[in-house]
């Protein structure tokens, strides 16, 4: 522990749980002073590997997180966890219940678990999730596990935050596989088919494998995804395989019986080695920086625009009423404001 006179930055870097927890709260609540602290932490990061877990509600993300914590603790690594649950759009309240599955680690000083509510943010995470990960990293955590909300199929933000994304699915969900096809396929670095104690696990594995095979065939024909284009540009290669193509492994797990967890953790580890070998870890960090920067920029510009709007054009509520009454045109108003900025 650090002494009495220590700054918040020093306390967080020394692993002070209370200082870190309060900073996370202040960041979540948008307290201006917390930004300055974050800026200092940001300038000298830790070394954490960030692993994301996404997939539909009830698939077992929290249970898998619990078992992954156990795995890493056994290997002597410290672990941070961020678990995001949805805020009710009607009441603004939320029930954050992911800790229920992680009780084994409640008293382990090497584990810090934080629950966050989406607070109206879309995309699978909350606005403050990335900041909370930065705080955990500054505390010196070796591994940070991020559990997304798991509602809907547009949970793409985790790609920008995590080094490795684990997509969790379960057997016997025809529609689920459709959903995976629709968007999740692109974001998965590793697939976990959890609840493999249930019937149909092999079938799900086969379905996923088929989709991956299909993707690889189209990739060689030129229909490449973002990452492989990056890789090929960098290595000057014509062949995505040669350029360090990553074939997402599919791992069967039973989180509640601790089965398949070593295989899952090893698949994540292989992906980490792949990231280091191909230089893609850097690329991902640049992508995260870009996303963070754009989010901040968008907020700033929007805030500036709204202030300007209020000062020079009219109050938002009043303008909205005029637009609703069709006495004003939203495009014209937006153009007018944009010209002034």
């Amino acid at each position: 522990m650090t002494g009495k006179g220590a700054t918040v930055v020093e306390r967080v870097r020394a692993g002070d749980i209370r200082a870190a927890a309060r900073l996370m709260r202040n960041l979540d609540d948008g307290i201006p002073g917390a930004r300055a602290v974050l800026r200092e932490l940001f300038a000298r990061p830790g070394h954490a590997l960030v692993v994301g877990l996404t997939g539909p509600p009830g698939a077992g993300k929290s249970s898998l997180t619990d078992r992954l914590i156990a795995y890493h603790r056994k290997a002597g690594r410290t672990v941070g966890v961020v678990a995001v649950d949805p805020t009710s759009p009607f009441t603004g309240g939320a029930i954050l219940g992911d800790r229920v599955r992680m009780q084994d680690h409640a008293l382990d000083p090497g584990v810090f678990i934080r629950s966050l509510a989406t607070r109206g943010h879309l995309g699978g995470l909350s606005r403050a999730t990335s900041d909370v990960v930065t705080v955990l990293d500054s505390m010196g955590k070796d591994v940070i596990l991020v559990e997304t909300v798991g509602v809907g199929q547009d949970e793409v933000e985790i790609v920008e935050l995590a080094h490795t994304v684990v997509v969790v699915s379960i057997p016997g969900m025809g529609d689920e596989v459709q959903a995976i096809k629709a968007g999740v396929l692109e974001i998965a670095d590793v697939f976990a088919v959890n609840k493999a104690d249930r019937e149909g696990a092999d079938r799900t594995v086969k379905d996923l494998q088929m989709m991956l095979d299909l993707r690889r065939t189209t990739a060689t024909r030129g229909g490449l995804d973002h990452d492989s284009v990056h890789r090929m540009t960098r290595t000057g290669s014509e062949d995505p395989h040669e350029a360090g193509w990553w074939e997402p492994p599919i791992v069967k797990t039973v989180a509640t019986r601790d089965e398949g967890m070593v295989e899952l953790a090893e698949a994540v580890e292989r992906h980490r080695l792949h990231l280091d070998r191909t230089g893609e870890r850097k690329l991902r960090e640049v992508a995260r920086a870009r996303a963070t920067f754009l989010t901040i920029l968008r907020d700033r510009l929007m805030q500036g625009a709204l202030n300007r709007l209020a000062e020079e054009v009219g109050h938002l509520d009043e303008l909205a009423a005029r637009i609703a009454a069709r006495s004003a045109d939203p495009y014209e108003l937006a153009d007018e404001l944009a010209r002034r900025l």
Binding site: G93, G97, V100
Partner: protein, 140 residues
Amino acid sequence: MSQKNERTLRILVAKPGLDGHDRGAKIVARALRDAGFEVIYTGLHQTPEMIAAAAVQEDVDGVGLSIMSGAHLTLFPAVVDALKERGASDVTVFGGGIIPQDDIPKLKESGVSQVFLPGATTQSIVDWIRGNVKPRAEVA
């Protein structure tokens, strides 16, 4: 879009002790969510130490305990003490359960802020929290 510095209350709802059902705790958790609070729910069989550790990590403003086992005279003060030990004595502790009227003064003396008896409505719990649990200071 405007960045109001309005803090959302965070409340940990826990079920300490050995008794095996958490219906009451879940009902309260839902009522608190519907009142606009963020509820951290930790489930059954929590020791006071586990509750305090979670309260600190989650930086909650209050801890609500549901105790049906009759062990309230040991569990409530134990949670208060465990919080103090972790430097979190500013967390408001309240709770409810099957608790004899006579025990309430003893509980309050040990640092429990409010005790709700089985007949209490969820609305009365929400109202009490609104009036008595304040978002914590910016500095830990």
